[in-house]
């Protein structure tokens, strides 16, 4: 069953077409990722889905019905940049937001699932970035929604806090909640998302499950070489060769041919590693640009 459907969404700002006719559908219980660099139209699309912006044309359907103000009661939203009320404790904030809704999640479940037990009595101003994101997530779950929208929930968090949040989101998935997620982190998308849509310049340029996308757009593997000092030795290779952060990456569909060619050119392979393509490579392949560029 489709829980959220975006149909031919268009949004114009003066002189800019921020969203250019995107469409996708999210089945109930799935985790759907919307990926794209800054300026791709991702945030605008999310804000239309959240009901903050109105589209120029097209529509958003929740459970088959056109999205209206009443939808706010049924979905949960974690916005990217939100300040918490000052001088309130974590518990007071959560209880206040929970009470805005007719249907409410169990307070104990919220506290336990978002790991807020130890900070319930702490002033909002005195919690860490990771704790703040967990509280914002709990606020998004306050109405026990079937659809949870998470707009870059781990941006700015340290790796440990990010992994904590991933565990919580995976826990939510296990309870059958549908999740719409945006992120800059490819690892996050690969770990959490069942399906993805990649946006660039207001359009969806690729969509599908991470495996399908990689299979259909990125065959082969990436050969990584460290310490290559003479880049002229790599000239003329029949594959895509890139220098990234001081290492050389060769994208090839034949490891044997590649190794043979490198040895023929006298290149030392003792530091060579091989990895499969990832979403970062996919994005680079599709747009010619780095995702976080």
């Amino acid at each position: 069953m489709i829980i959220l459907e975006v149909v031919d969404l268009v949004k114009h700002f003066p002189g800019v077409k921020a969203v250019d006719g995107i469409s996708f559908a999210i089945p109930s219980g799935a985790c759907f990722g919307l990926l794209g660099p800054n300026g791709a139209g991702k945030t605008t699309s999310m804000e239309i889905i959240e009901g903050i912006l109105f589209p120029t044309s097209g529509e958003v359907r929740y459970r088959g019905e056109r999205r209206g103000r009443g939808t706010n009661s049924e979905i949960g939203v974690q916005l990217q940049n939100t300040e918490l009320p000052q001088y309130l404790t974590v518990g007071e904030t959560l209880r206040t937001f929970r009470s805005f809704y007719g249907k409410r999640a169990d307070m104990d479940w919220l506290v336990a699932s978002c790991r807020l037990d130890d900070i319930l009595d702490r002033d909002n101003r005195k919690i860490s970035g990771g704790q703040k994101q967990r509280l914002l997530l709990a606020m998004a779950l306050a109405n026990d929604p079937d659809l949870v929208i998470l707009d870059e929930p781990t941006t700015g968090l340290d790796p440990q806090a990010r992994r904590h949040l991933w565990e919580i989101v995976r826990g939510l998935k296990a309870t059958g909640k549908t999740i719409l997620l945006t992120t800059h982190y490819m690892e996050e998308a690969e770990i959490l998302c069942d399906s993805l849509a990649i946006m660039d310049s207001g359009k969806i340029i690729a969509a599908g499950s991470p495996d399908d996308l990689l299979r259909s757009h990125c065959g082969g593997i990436a050969v990584q070489l460290y310490g290559v000092t003479d880049s002229r030795a790599l000239e003329g290779l029949p594959w895509d060769v890139r220098t990234i952060d001081g290492r050389v990456e060769i994208f090839t569909d034949s490891l044997n041919d590649c190794m043979r060619a490198l040895l023929d050119r006298g290149i030392d392979l003792s530091s060579m590693t091989v990895r499969s393509w990832n979403l970062e490579d996919l994005f680079l392949n599709l747009t010619g640009r780095d995702l976080r560029g």
């Binding site: 706010n72 009320p85 309130l88 206040t96 009470s99 809704y101």
Partner: protein, 345 residues
């Protein structure tokens, strides 16, 4: 029912924010008390250097009269012109002038309860002794109203004005800027509920702090309310409501604290100076007096002074109350019409 629950929750959220911000709370209560203390120190012991002589018909009525020329030579008197005798007597009754002279009628009046009036009449007698002119003495009895008592409603009003305008206007703009309003916009909370909660919360804060300041000043300085307490409370409520609503109009769209601050200053400073907080606009430029009629603070202070100083009742201040209610409805309607959760794109 859900609407009232949400309004109550937002009301409580804002109250907690305010009352837990100790520095802001202390400042809201201490500031007016300190101002009163300062003025009490300055004017409480005869700090006014000159005796004010109200002249019916203006100073031109004194020209050429040797008595008045002699009187004028004194360094201790200042002449204030009045077009009518009745107005001059009224000001005498309120101790805004110490003695009233009517050269055409050859009469003068002092207040029997005013020591300053007695001294002013001795100065006049000294002039008459040196330049005899037949003058008939009249006396009015009236309530002794000191400058501090006159100032007190103005200070209360000014404190309410700053608290209402900046406490709502600035705070809502901050909410918009830091994304708190955007977060509320994706909940079932409606703009009407949010605005109502802000108004009620600020009114609660205004009434609490004004009540504390009023009681504190009554105990410390012995001020009293000569008129109806019901009228006084209604004037504070209507005045506070109109200024809170005015703050909401400023906050309805902007997400720039600097812009909101500028607009709030642009409103609050002229309002403070033209609403007779510190001094009477008696004899001021008509344009200034006209401008003062635009501001709710003018009507609130005027009404409160009538109640506290002159012993007015509810009916006596009905015009001020009606104007304040009208302004409240106007500003609140305008704010509701203009309000957006975030800047439209």
């Amino acid at each position: 029912m859900a609407i009232f629950t949400r309004i109550w929750l937002l009301f409580m959220m804002r109250n907690r924010e305010f009352f837990r911000d100790r520095s802001a709370l202390a400042w809201n209560i201490l500031f007016p008390i300190l101002v009163i203390a300062g003025f009490s120190f300055m004017f409480g012991h005869g700090g006014q250097l000159q005796y004010k002589i109200g002249v019916v018909g203006g100073e031109r009525a004194l020209t050429g009269n040797p008595l008045y020329e002699e009187f004028r030579k004194s360094n201790y008197v200042e002449f204030v012109s009045f077009e009518s005798g009745a107005l001059a007597i009224d000001r005498l009754r309120h101790h805004r002038v110490d003695l009233v002279l009517d050269p055409a009628e050859r009469k003068y009046w002092t207040s029997s309860t005013s020591p300053r009036g007695y001294i002013a009449s001795r100065l006049l007698a000294d002039g008459i002794r040196r330049c005899p002119v037949p003058l008939e003495a009249g006396s009015v009895t009236g309530i002794e109203i000191s400058y501090i008592e006159w100032l007190f409603p103005g200070i209360l009003g000014m404190n309410m004005m700053f608290s209402a305008l900046f406490g709502v206007g600035y705070v809502v703009v901050q909410y918009r800027k830091n994304g708190a309003l955007k977060r509320l916009s994706v909940t079932p909370v409606r703009p009407f509920e949010f605005l109502t909660a802000q108004v009620l919360s600020r009114m609660f804060i205004l009434m609490s702090t004004t009540g504390i300041v009023y009681t504190g000043c009554v105990l410390l300085y012995g001020f009293s309310c000569r008129g109806s307490y019901l009228a006084l409370v209604l004037l504070f409520i209507a005045g506070g409501f109109s200024m809170v609503s005015m703050g909401l109009v400023v906050a309805s769209r902007s997400s720039s604290e600097e812009f909101a601050n500028g607009v709030l200053n642009l409103i609050s400073w002229p309002m403070m100076f033209t609403s007779e907080v510190w001094f009477s606009l008696e004899g001021a430029n008509p344009v200034v007096r006209w401008i003062s009629k635009v501001f709710p603070l003018t009507y609130m202070i005027d009404g409160v002074r009538m109640v506290m100083n002159d012993g007015a009742g509810l009916l006596d201040v009905s015009v001020q109350l009606l104007v304040l209610v009208f302004m409240s409805v106007f500003f609140l309607t305008l704010a509701s019409f203009l309000f957006v959760w975030q800047k439209r794109q």
